[in-house]
């Protein structure tokens, strides 16, 4: 397929680009290490006081942390850099180059950047998940594993849609650069399963910013909490978000070219 080949070409360029900045790898490893240490200490502090948190045991929360780190890596490697470049392009007028190419514009702006070294987080997250699973006695069924993987993909897709819609508002407001910080702040809440938060915050973290789908639901699949109904709901919401964000993107693009004026 053409789209896949295009994505692969950009991925290749992104990787080549990252090799120019070797120092970033070491900085990233250091950052990941610090974040992991802070996370583990936090977990330790909580479980010095109690044996469970909102129905989650210590080992299960380790799995949540693993998913949190992994998904954070995916977002910072593939989603956030593309959306930040899109914001810059809209502001500087360089989006014109992307729009004069014979390729789907949304696809193009979504695959242009890739931060290879952020995948250190993906790897670390996977290891933490592995450790948690080992402590849980490898009791994961094939169905749960499938549920986990599909929930991860859906979580990433929902997060992408969220970013795309926010970034698309740049077509109207031009300056939306602070959303990266806003997202980082809210995503940090995903370190813990969203069911420990009060209802209003839980609702916000589920439907406004899809932290619940990005972290809690995949982690639920790992720990045998995910029901088929929730999974189906997540699937439905993912499809809905994909469609809505595409429509929103097209609307923004129309505004950019002055077709709606």
């Amino acid at each position: 397929m053409n789209g896949l080949r295009l994505a692969w070409s950009y991925l290749r360029i992104g990787i080549l680009n990252e090799f120019q900045y070797r120092a970033n790898l070491y900085i990233q490893i250091l950052q990941t290490f610090i974040a992991l240490a802070v996370g583990l200490i936090g977990l330790q502090l909580v479980f010095d006081q109690t044996t469970q948190l909102g129905g989650w045991s210590r080992t299960e929360l380790l799995a949540v942390m693993g998913v949190y780190i992994l998904m954070g890596g995916v977002i910072r490697a593939a989603i956030q850099p593309n959306m930040e470049r899109l914001m810059d392009d809209i502001r500087n007028g360089t989006l014109d180059f992307a729009l004069t190419k014979p390729a789907d514009a949304q696809l193009l702006v979504s695959v242009r950047e890739f931060r290879l070294w952020q995948t250190v987080d993906v790897l670390t997250g996977a290891i933490v998940i592995g450790v948690a699973l080992a402590q849980l006695g490898w009791s994961l069924s094939a169905l749960s594993a499938l549920g986990f993987l599909s929930a991860l993909v859906m979580g990433a897709a929902l997060t992408y849609c969220f970013w795309l819609m926010i970034t698309t508002t740049a077509f109207w407001f031009i300056r939306v650069n602070d959303i990266a910080n806003l997202f980082e702040g809210l995503y940090a809440a995903g370190r813990w399963p969203v069911d420990i938060y009060p209802l209003w915050l839980r609702t916000g973290l589920t439907f406004l910013v899809p932290v619940a789908f990005a972290v809690t639901i995949p982690a639920s699949a790992l720990t045998g909490r995910l029901t088929f109904l929730t999974w189906l709901g997540a699937l439905g919401l993912t499809v809905l978000f994909l469609v809505v964000s595409r429509l929103f993107w097209r609307r923004g693009l129309k505004n950019y070219s002055g077709a709606s004026a």
Partner: protein, 327 residues
């Protein structure tokens, strides 16, 4: 002859927010915005036959870039119609985009940190070019522009002119049939401008491509375009041969000569535009040029007399100085 570009009554209006200076007005603007309609392009029509190179001239803000953007599918016209290669540009069909290119001299699209060769590969993927054909075209362009040793260096290490050469190669790898070049030589030194110019001319010759070029450097236009379209305040002021433009808008000619008797009074002959020792340049109304010349020759001791049209820059400058109401 078939038409590559056909523009008829093309119009683009922008709504721009407007407010008085100051904090109070800015605060009011938060709630109620006043808009003003700016006619960036106001009912223009022109045709370009396949294979022609046309210079698109106008001062800053005349509507050149807006027109190029409408023709390349980036902007939706407010009114009128445009067709490029029989496509409606704003539909941005892939078949259309595959056959055009847009080069903007003040913006670049190559990856800053990578050698241009890597960015060229990306173009191949975007346009779905066949590997052998792509290589042949790429190497051919690299050879013509003599950048063989530069394509392997990160783009950020190249000079402005070298970078522009790479940009142009990248923009032409898919061998587009229509080229929209917006100030492709801006900021480049004279030699580099000439290189780019020659390359564009060669590309046009070799592939029979149609070129619409904007530039502030008249040398570009003189070298590449027989025909120019002058746009000012969103309207077309002139469309025709470059020499006809000079003929029509230049009311003056210059008469240059060397005086052997430097004390002579020259005021009866015309306005002295320059005087450097015994070398004098007079500016005289076009219709009086021959009369002034003969009077000069009979009444003064002069050598090396030449009569010339005003430099094209001066003509263009006088056209651009026409106020909006007169345009």
């Amino acid at each position: 002859m078939s038409l590559a570009v056909n523009v008829s009554s093309l119009t683009k209006h922008y709504q721009v927010p407007e407010r008085e200076a100051g904090l109070k007005a800015a605060a009011q603007g938060l709630f109620k915005r006043r808009y003003r309609t700016v006619k960036a392009v106001d009912d223009i029509s022109f045709q370009i036959p396949t294979g022609e190179v046309v210079g698109f001239l106008g001062p800053n803000g005349a509507g050149k870039t807006t027109t190029l953007k409408m023709l390349s599918g980036l902007l939706h016209p407010t009114g009128g119609s445009a067709s490029v290669l029989d496509f409606e540009p704003f539909r941005r069909s892939h078949d259309f985009l595959r056959q055009i290119t847009l080069v903007m001299g003040n913006r670049n699209q190559l990856s800053w940190d990578l050698p241009a060769l890597d960015s060229f590969d990306l173009q191949r993927a975007i346009y779905g070019l066949h590997a052998d054909e792509f290589k042949k075209t790429r190497d051919e362009f690299i050879e013509i522009l003599e950048v063989g040793s530069l394509v392997k260096q990160p783009v950020r290490n190249l000079s402005l002119g070298e970078r522009m050469k790479m940009e142009i190669i990248g923009a032409l790898l898919h061998k587009p049939k229509v080229l929209f070049l917006d100030e492709p030589t801006i900021g480049l030194d004279v030699t580099m401008q000439k290189r780019i110019r020659t390359f564009v001319a060669e590309y046009n010759q070799r592939y029979g491509a149609t070129v619409l070029l904007t530039s502030h450097y008249m040398a570009d236009v003189e070298a590449l375009c027989k025909r120019v379209v002058v746009i000012h305040h969103g309207k077309i002021l002139f469309d025709g041969n470059l020499s006809a433009l000079v003929e029509r808008f230049s009311a003056f000619k210059t008469v240059a000569f060397t005086l052997t008797d430097s004390a002579s009074d020259l005021t009866p002959f015309g306005e002295v535009a320059a005087r450097d020792g015994s070398r004098v340049t007079l500016r005289v109304p076009k219709e009086k040029a021959s009369e002034v010349t003969s009077r000069l020759l009979t009444s003064l001791q002069v050598e090396d007399l030449t009569v010339e049209a005003l430099p094209i820059e001066d003509v263009i400058a006088s056209v651009f100085a026409i106020p909006k109401e007169a345009a």
